[in-house]
């Protein structure tokens, strides 16, 4: 039995019930007394389909392969998890940080730290992160003139 697939089945059930319940508050679409497919029509069809897929997964797991033992071992090492968390942190906090200290410095700093986490030598990381941030800044900020955050600190200093 694959635990991951079972979890997937439960997630599908959750999504479909959520859609079915949430879409109940969507208004009806009535034209000249005739009730026509409204905003809830399509999402509800999809929710029912998801329920069917979930049922298929459960049937497959419990009835068809009940003796099958999952051979997949999703062993995630602590280091891998740290990498994952660090990238997530970088994505989520890149712009809040850029709003504070400016895009270029934020990207350089975060890239540097990410490279160090990924076991690059510090001086190598510094040069490479500076180069990556510079290339990105030139392409988006200078050539395409996308208003990248300059940072509150630098704006105030100016």
């Amino acid at each position: 039995m694959s635990v991951a697939d079972l979890i997937l089945g439960f997630v599908l059930v959750f999504i479909s019930f959520f859609v079915l319940l949430y879409s109940r508050k969507f208004p009806h679409f009535v034209v000249r007394g005739v009730r026509l497919p409204g905003p809830s029509f399509f999402p509800r069809i999809l929710a029912v389909l998801l329920l069917i897929f979930a049922a298929y997964i459960f049937v497959e797991q419990f009835l068809l392969r009940k003796r099958r033992v999952s051979q997949e071992k999703h062993r995630t090492e602590a280091k891998s998890l740290l990498n994952l968390l660090w990238i997530s942190f970088m994505v989520l906090f890149a712009f809040p940080l850029a709003n504070l200290i400016g895009t270029f410095i934020a990207l350089t700093g975060m890239s540097f730290l990410l490279m160090v986490v990924l076991r690059s030598k510090w001086y190598e990381s510094l040069i490479l992160s500076f180069s990556v941030a510079l290339v990105v800044y030139i392409i988006f900020g200078v050539i395409f003139k996308i208003p990248l955050p300059e940072g509150i600190i630098f704006t105030k200093l100016r």
Partner: protein, 489 residues
Amino acid sequence: MQPLEVLKPDVLFPLLLSMFFGIFVGAIPGLTATMAVALIIPVTYYMKPIAGLAMVLGVSFTAIFAGDIPATFLRIPGTPASGAAILDGFELSKKGKGSLALMLDLFCSALGGLIGVVILITVSPPLAKFALKFTHFEYFWLGIFGLSMAAVLSKGNTVKGLMSATLGLLISTIGIDVTTGYPRFTFNITDLMDGVSFIPAMIGLFGLSEVFKRMTEKSQLQLSAVSEVVKPDLKETFKHIWKHKFTLIRGALIGTFIGALPGAGADVAAWVSYGVEKNVSKDEELGKGSVRGVVAPTSANNAAIGGTWIPALVFGLPGDSITAIVLGAMLMYGLRPGPMIFTQSRDLVTQLFTVAVLVQILLIPIGWLGIKAFSLFVRLKTSLVMTAVTVFCIIGSYALRNSVFDVYVMFVFGLIGYAFEKLRIPLAPMILGLILGRTVEDNLRVGLIKTKGNFLPFLTRPISLTLFVMIVLVLIVPPLTKILSRKKV
């Protein structure tokens, strides 16, 4: 002359840059052509549409070719489309004929790509005229057909493919309902009123998820240096191409046909072409270092790209995940893919076809440089490549609307993509669902509104009925064949 506009620097220069980028991404194992296209789209936001589309074409053709380079030298496919090229390419390389394999690969990719593009140019306009007969009923079934094909043809479990497509459709319902103006699943978040943006979603699904995957795997990108110095022997290359000309043409035709099927991309095309060659040629050397085994898949995978553009341009139906991104980008440029594009944006279509031919010509010198530079690419550190991809994902998703919310959308889709990869759920059907969601829902609802809720006209019109039968066949035939073959055993 409209077609010659593409030779102006504002189109040609981005095209050349994109081709170099395509070589770079394609040659690095683990980075896919889809990812390359997803990463280049943000750069094209502020360009004119033809320059943006030229970049997409340049990246996709070169990345698919470049994927064969590590497949030949290191037995690691640069992109999934190069899986079939490993078999004989690597064997030739072991025999000291790696440079011959790569030169064959380069010319077959360009020639196969050219055949695919020629078919695209000749087939699309008449097909578009036919597509003008389509109404809401047919477009609804066409969307469903595309989604079911994607689910069936994508690797892994068909049910999981269909589930992925359904989830994509569900995500597409987020935002203001066009018919009633009611906001659905927006949770009072203003940024969700317009729905989930395609591009950040795709950057997340194909770019960030790959970074997550790589960072949690033990295998690293850094590989051993290439021992063989590439010495091209053009005379020998052409001799082999001439000798295997029918294999090349067959591969290109198979590639274009497979590519034109919604959901089946260059990887499926390469394997099918290899399989057909095995049956047709009865070459016992196949798999042991046969030239035929290089010609067949490499001509097919590049020809498939031309094929994928046929349903994308004519019906607005993505042929694979790359064209799914392209469709999102075209909507962003203000273009509406579908039969009307051939009349409303005739100049653009002509220029697009010219670029596609130009790419095949430019592929030869740029591809050759790529082969030469390959040893430099594989020496790049994982940390650098992954950091650069992450930074591009962040800024690229922000650049679309200067919105930090889009960065978060990209992050969420990155996590979804990662989870899907772990659960072996194909990503392409979800993207197709996301792209086709509005088309499918609008056409279903408008059709039902027209018929006052009667579903019968969806099945009684000749083209609708044909499409419906095709969908049933697509969904029923594969499991039925499986059951029958099991019974036989």
